[in-house]
Symmetry: C2
Amino acid sequence: MRTIPKAVANRLSLYRRLLERLHADGVRTISSRAISDSLGLKDAQVRRDLAHFGSFGQPGLGYRVAELLGKVRTILGTDRTWPVALVGYGNLGRALVAYAKVPGRSFRIAAVFDADPAKVGRQAGGLVVRDASELVRQVRRQKIPLAILAVPAEVAPKVAWRLARAGVRGILNFAPARLDVPKRVFVSDIDFTASMEQLSFHLRRRRA
Amino acid sequence: MRTIPKAVANRLSLYRRLLERLHADGVRTISSRAISDSLGLKDAQVRRDLAHFGSFGQPGLGYRVAELLGKVRTILGTDRTWPVALVGYGNLGRALVAYAKVPGRSFRIAAVFDADPAKVGRQAGGLVVRDASELVRQVRRQKIPLAILAVPAEVAPKVAWRLARAGVRGILNFAPARLDVPKRVFVSDIDFTASMEQLSFHLRRRRA
DNA sequence: AATTGTGAATCTCTTCACAGCA
DNA sequence: TGCTGTGAAGAGATTCACAATT
């Protein structure tokens, strides 16, 4: 019950989303079977996952939605709003700024950086795009704990190191590059090309 | 050697990228140890992965880069360019169109759709944004096998079904929703919120 | 001397199946 | 009766360690 396995951690967001919706709809309790049907899992897996953070289920009845949601939010850290530094204000950066502005997110863009002088000084969702050279100073000053890396692959490792030096504890990396940072910094990768290649891989597979 | 395990499939893109770079740099052979160091894996894992698609290694020497790259490309399907339908032309859609235009990609945007009348008719990287009502007809006519879903979560499942009906075999889904499509359609999810939540989850974890 | 390919061991995750509780 | 929590079995992935090969 102490350590949450990686596979479970990766499913926490799915549980959170479903529970948020149920809660908003006024549903009070739900069974592992109903959860598993909604998420495309097995009921036993849901029960084992949820057992990792306490005994919430009531035999014969199910799980209490409000209580479970509270627990999941606390574990995921979505019970508060985290400041995030966005590095790279290209097309993707702009999409992310727009996305983050939606109310109710558990993070907010607290600073935006870019190396391109043509972009520095522009408005970005209520913030001014700062020059990349100010990154370490600003991230430190604002004590920003998380960063989104939306820069070209060639410079990503270098920028990641600077973020680590500035004290961030987690990086969401969109660049197709390995970030070899100190292990106190957690890296989550979103690799668009790799995801597309999974599609073409399966296209080939099925044909055979 | 016949069936490639899921875990291996997910690493194929990493191998491909590394091999592309080595090949471009004129490197002729490479050992499993050098590969594993570059990618942050174990050497034994690299050997086992590569053994899934034949015996390419030369004991005492390593793997021949050109030959291995050719094999990985064939398996991943990046030895050709796949037409892709983009559904949803918001901020993310625009970022994807820009991204796909870079030469050398193994896919190209072949059609763009949106339900918003204000967006229909606009130019999108050399294409005209079409009304979502034309989706099935156009995807069928052009025999487009893959789609990128960049629409709001509420409509994602419905659009996914239409794509399936139109005959696509793979969907890259950016919407935070489960797509319950026929199993002939492979779905790859990119869940930005879930990835961000992994960061805050680990932030909490480390503190304890 | 360097390096592969793989049996065996190990670790991790999933699923079954059922005792026990409401 | 309906449902949880979990021991035990099963499935899958990783790592070790070494005989075989160039």
